[in-house]
């Protein structure tokens, strides 16, 4: 095996730690690219909100004036994020692999529930006739929540691998597999915290009042 280490057959633990660092660096740059994308959406949203045809979904007579479902969804995503953080801290303890796995499963379930919750909001909007083409505020809602959801689904793929590795861990307690699992869980935890923060930002944006949009737009000089 050739690796990026200095020797042909190497100290596997050291190499895995290096791999974990590489994966983390890759993830940070990925999050930077995703942040750039959502920041540009945010700017487009604010700029577009200043055109007279904009019908903010948060107005008292509009569907997002009641944000109960969205708060509930946010709580689900927060649960997923907290569970992953707990798993991340717990993986250091070799006796608690089962608890770690349960945390991962909880995060998985909470994330899926969040996605279903978001779909229910979509369904409600569609049932009330708020289609993407009828007003651009609706289109932004579908687009931003949809893209956020797609990023979560991407994360779920890695979470599946992490959960599988963690369940294997209960049977074999070798250090290399623990390091690999630790790395996957750390990546998932960081990514979920990021997506939680992103969602809270989007939540604030999508349910903000037209006055706040106007204030931000004025501040930006639009």
């Amino acid at each position: 095996m050739y690796t990026n280490s200095n020797t042909l057959y190497l100290n596997e633990d050291k190499d895995l730690l290096q791999r974990a660092k590489m994966a983390k660096t890759g993830l940070y740059f990925l999050m930077a690219a995703v942040s750039s994308m959502f920041l540009l959406f945010l700017i487009s949203y604010i700029l577009r909100s200043q055109v007279s045809d904009w019908q903010a979904l948060s107005q008292p007579w509009q569907p997002l004036s009641n944000t109960a479902q969205l708060w509930f969804n946010s709580a689900l995503l927060a649960v997923a994020s907290i569970a992953l953080e707990y798993a991340r801290r717990n993986i250091k303890d070799p006796d608690n692999s089962k608890l770690t796995r349960d945390c991962l499963l909880l995060a998985y379930a909470a994330t899926v529930a969040f996605l279903i919750g978001q779909l229910l909001v979509w369904k409600k909007l569609v049932a009330m006739g708020f289609m993407a083409s009828s007003n651009v505020a609706n289109a932004f809602f579908y687009l931003l929540t949809g893209l956020h959801g797609l990023h979560l689904i991407g994360g779920l793929v890695v979470l599946t691998i992490a959960t599988y590795r963690c369940s294997q861990l209960t049977r074999e307690l070798q250090e290399p597999s623990r390091l690999r699992t630790k790395s996957s869980i750390e990546l998932c935890a960081t990514y979920w915290h990021f997506l939680l923060l992103l969602w809270l930002g989007l939540f604030a944006l999508l349910t903000g009042s037209p006055e706040s949009y106007a204030a931000i737009a004025k501040f930006c000089g639009f």
């Binding site: 050739y2 280490s5 540009l40």
Partner: protein
């Protein structure tokens, strides 16, 4: 993450069969060649399109080309050249090949993602080329794809062409992001022992910063591409205003076409530097090796690359002076545009000072490098004209602009591409490219491009507008301009045909070229010090090289050779001052 998977299986990405070695390869060198050949192939399509356009401009109606076909050719030519040829070649081709070899890594850090990056790129190219065969043909909206015309009827290719273009761009961005994550992480985390950031060759610096620009700027194209796709497919109004088309009112209302322009150019201007920064890096290395002299002001060169990268994000609206934006806004962007000329000029001075008192070898890579400096200077100077609002407005949408951006962003980087291929080809194939054919190719290309673009500045100043497919019966265009157009067309077609020399050389020399040995240019940087040429899988044999100095120790006194390889320890040869500073 994918790499962590690889470790579990001893030699997962060790190629075993023809398919895993050459097709589904995870080896950065094979992926680089796949990227490069695909980019060159699609670039040839764009070259043919430009020859067809030139025929129409120089000799109207001499070929069967109507206005629709002209606009389609123009759009596809621009988009292919900027995105699918230059970006892919510099980052996917040179980035993939050179980064691991120059920093002393065995491969990219996520080889599987790297492979996916190429296949996504290929898919984006296929989707783009498919648009030639769909009803209505490819989009003819101009490479900037401005709404509302890009998706309203009357513009060529609004049926399917624009959809395929946008989908292709979105796939390309996903590919570029996957590749980009690999390049930056490899540079930051997989350098070999002793390879500090300030010992990296400038090629790596250029590609590294360009990749960061790509990771942050391509999302702007992604965002605008998705929103325009939704406007087209499901009738949202992100960019589409309330409008009439062919006498009937469309469903759209309230969209902001100017928002698209801002998003597009927030990507578009960094894109110029995504292409230029790797070219700056590559040419710095070519000049140093072939002038047998250390690069002048290495650290200054690095910081200039970083400064240009940062500034490139705050100049975008100089592409939009005529969009009706606030004049004060234009004033701000004129200033930032002129400020970016400072680090850029610094680089040009440093290249020139590297040449000064150098032992200049007029090899083919050096010829291309010298041509690059001159061409970039010419293109850059006309940029100073166009960066000023008051000068830009009368020149806007004339052939002056066409000449400017072809010089600075078309010809200049392509000259570096050629120079770099002549330089690194011996490492890639183990054989030299034919020198005589190379020189002939150089002189035709270099002189030819000047014969094409110098007169174009003049006809631009005469007021000849760009994007017209026929110039008959315009009183303000003098006959001399028509004659010049015919002349430009003849030269352009000769230059295009001359590229066959290069292609022939590329394939002929791969089999019949003179064997190169491991380091034919006597270069000091790490990629020339591999145990095998071409380097084998894993690059470095049983153990990684250890680096003791920078990559520019040329002309060192009291040494047997006139260069000191990066792996030579300080006991055997003094470490250069420039490196000590690092």
């Amino acid at each position: 993450m994918a790499y962590a998977e690889d470790v579990e299986h001893d030699d997962l990405h060790q190629p075993r069969s023809f398919y895993s070695k050459y097709i589904w390869s995870q080896d950065h060198k094979v992926i680089a060649i796949q990227y490069s050949l695909t980019a060159i192939a699609v670039g040839l399509v764009a070259l043919v399109l430009s020859a067809m356009m030139r025929m129409q401009i120089g000799f109207p109606d001499s070929i069967d080309m109507d206005s629709t076909a002209y606009y389609q050719a123009m759009t596809m030519h621009g988009m292919i050249m900027v995105i699918y040829l230059l970006t892919a070649l510099f980052l996917g081709g040179f980035g993939n090949y050179l980064i691991p070899l120059m920093v002393g890594a065995r491969d990219m850090v996520f080889p599987f993602v790297n492979m996916l990056s190429y296949w996504f790129y290929l898919l984006s190219v296929i989707v783009l080329l498919c648009s030639f065969f769909v009803p209505g043909g490819p989009t003819g909206a101009g490479w900037t794809l401005y709404p509302p015309q890009a998706i309203s009827s009357g513009t060529p290719g609004t049926e399917w062409g624009i959809i395929l273009m946008l989908v292709s761009l979105i796939i390309f961005i996903i590919a570029a992001t996957m590749g980009g994550l690999n390049y930056v992480t490899t540079v930051l985390q997989a350098r070999t022992h002793g390879m500090t950031l300030f010992r990296m060759p400038l090629t790596v610096w250029g590609i590294f910063i360009a990749t960061i620009l790509a990771l942050l700027a391509f999302p702007a194209l992604f965002v605008s591409g998705i929103m325009m796709l939704l406007d087209k497919i499901i009738g949202t109004s992100f960019f589409m205003p309330e409008m009439f088309s062919f006498g009937s009112q469309l469903e759209y209302k309230g969209g902001s076409p100017i928002l698209f322009q801002h998003l597009f150019w927030f990507f578009g201007h960094p894109e110029v530097y995504i292409v230029a920064l790797p070219a700056f890096g590559l040419v710095s290395d070519l000049i140093s090796v072939h002038a047998r002299k250390c690069i002048f002001g290495y650290r200054m060169m690095v910081w200039a690359i970083v400064a240009i990268g940062v500034l490139s994000f705050i100049v975008w609206a100089h592409h939009m002076y005529v969009s009706g934006m606030n004049p004060y806004f234009g004033f701000f962007f004129a200033i930032t545009t002129l400020v970016i000329a400072v680090p850029t000029a610094l680089k040009v001075y440093n290249w020139t000072l590297t040449l000064w008192h150098g032992n200049i070898q007029l090899s083919v890579p050096m010829l291309f490098s010298l041509a690059f400096i001159v061409t970039f200077l010419v293109g850059g100077l006309t940029g100073l004209f166009l960066g000023n609002v008051v000068v830009d407005i009368p020149l806007s949408d004339t052939y002056f602009v066409v000449a400017h951006f072809h010089m600075v962003m078309g010809v200049a980087p392509i000259l570096v591409v050629f120079g770099a291929i002549y330089h690194w080809y011996p490492k890639i194939t183990g054989r030299m490219l034919n020198d005589s054919i190379g020189k002939l190719h150089f002189w035709i290309t270099f002189l030819g491009t000047y014969l094409i673009y110098f007169p174009m500045h003049y006809i631009g100043l005469q007021g000849m507008p760009r994007r017209y497919y026929l110039f008959e019966d315009y009183q303000f265009i003098p006959d001399s301009a028509h004659s010049l157009n015919a002349f430009i067309t003849v030269v352009a077609i000769l230059v295009a045909i001359a590229q066959l020399l290069f292609l022939f050389n590329l394939f002929y020399s791969a089999f019949r070229g003179k064997p190169a040995g491991s380091n034919p240019w006597r270069a000091a940087s790490l990629e020339w010090l591999t145990p095998d040429t071409p380097p084998k899988h894993g690059n470095w044999g049983p153990s990684l090289p250890v680096v003791h100095r920078w990559a520019y120790d040329y002309g060192v006194p009291d040494q047997a050779e006139d260069y000191v390889p990066q792996t030579t320890s300080a006991d055997l040869a003094p470490v250069h001052e420039g490196d000590k500073l690092a």
